[in-house]
Symmetry: C2
Subunit: 248 residues, 2 copies
């Protein structure tokens, strides 16, 4: 065995290199942004995949919010029943002290994305400020609305939640919205359809960045039957949605 | 309109009655138990469905753990890469001060279920103590192993994680383990296969308890294509699993 071969496993300790394999395109540092009334599965569908991926690839995850207080899925439903159901997640960093080495940013959706200004101004500003140094950006559900407001998606093909499609479109008329899509990959940006679609979008991201063998192994371990066709979207059909006419 | 009709919506405020509809079999109070190194999707797949259900039906959720300290998905992988990926959830109650009106208990799985005694003794004891007053018990993945240890599943048909099938079987030889199953309903107990199967199992629970219209509406809102056949399980085939021979 040659010296360089004995040193191969050590490559794993260097940021940006994959475990036991030199490939600097695979990212090390992931972050997710949270806001009050985020949708739980928007966050934990993709993160469960990352949690498992981190057992074979070195990954770091930063959980970002305005403060370090736990962030809750709870949202008030004045017209709804008298329920008390919520889960609270602990951030690891605030936007102000976020690490500057984030390579992949995950933006979830949920009822909270509809909060009127200035509730999400800090989130939108953080996405806008951070995007230029990101390798990849991933949105789930109505999270695409926060990114659309930054201008990052101007002229870019993107999708979002289908039940809230009208709201999604209203966030920007410069985005090339695609109605019939489980997810859309446009360059280094993945946007997914509503909630559960974050799983299929994240598996497609893993397939693209880490390879089909890695994505398939993860899906088998997590007992998930992936949707492999980004165009497969029964929900756009259910709501009879079509792409808006894009101004040229 | 008759007086009783005008009072119908008020029924929603009474525990055990469904929103706007008198049906005392539908539960109000749900709980999930957490332990270190739980699997995120085991918890948040089913809970995301409950979060959404709580917008039309009155529901309470208790998040139970040994202490009120946030509980982390993190697990040490001494042989794995140098990763730092985890999410921490805030419990609402400890086992010692848990409300005594829990009607539905959710037991997730994850690497943490393999912790050697006495790490999970309090969890197993709580499940055993609480089961007699539950309406329904739901397990995801290796969570079934904690329940199997209580004896509650003796003589009961049940399933669990397929990659960890040998470990599942080792938790009790008195359970009638079913290898080929996305989930198994046995009386008031739902046990599901690994991780992502918690989604299909929970939708089946909702379909059974709240009705197909409620389950379908939720799945459409959450953009999820449910597996409706409990016997559909490509992962038991992948691992070439068969049911153990049960002692009579």
């Amino acid at each position: 065995m040659k010296l360089w071969q004995t040193l191969l496993p050590c490559l794993a300790i260097f940021p940006g290199l994959t475990y036991g394999q030199a490939n600097i395109t695979r990212p090390l540092n992931y972050a997710v942004i949270l806001f009050p009334s985020f949708q739980a599965l928007d966050v934990f569908g993709p993160l469960d995949i990352l949690n498992s991926l981190s057992m074979t690839y070195p990954l770091n995850l930063y959980i970002l919010a305005e403060t370090l207080e736990p962030v809750s899925t709870h949202h008030n439903m004045p017209a709804g029943p008298n329920s008390n159901v919520s889960e609270s997640i602990t951030p690891t960093h605030t936007f102000d002290n976020a690490p500057d080495d984030i390579e992949v940013l995950l933006v979830p959706g949920g009822v909270g994305t509809r909060a009127p200004a200035p509730a999400l101004d800090a989130h939108v500003a953080f996405i806008k400020k951070t995007y230029p140094t990101l390798k990849y950006l991933i949105t789930v559900c109505t999270g695409v609305g926060l990114v659309a407001r930054t201008g990052i998606l101007d002229g870019v093909r993107a999708t979002g939640n289908k039940k809230a499609w009208a709201w999604v479109l209203a966030q920007s008329d410069k985005v090339h919205w695609v109605a019939e899509a489980r997810w859309v990959q446009s360059g280094n940006i993945w946007t997914t359809s509503g909630i559960s679609a974050g799983l299929d979008g994240m598996y497609n991201y893993v397939q693209t960045i880490y390879g089909e063998d890695v994505a398939l192994t993860l899906a088998n371990d997590l007992e998930y039957e992936r949707e492999l066709d980004w165009k497969h979207d029964p929900f756009s059909k259910l709501y009879n949605l079509t792409d808006p006419v894009h101004p040229n």
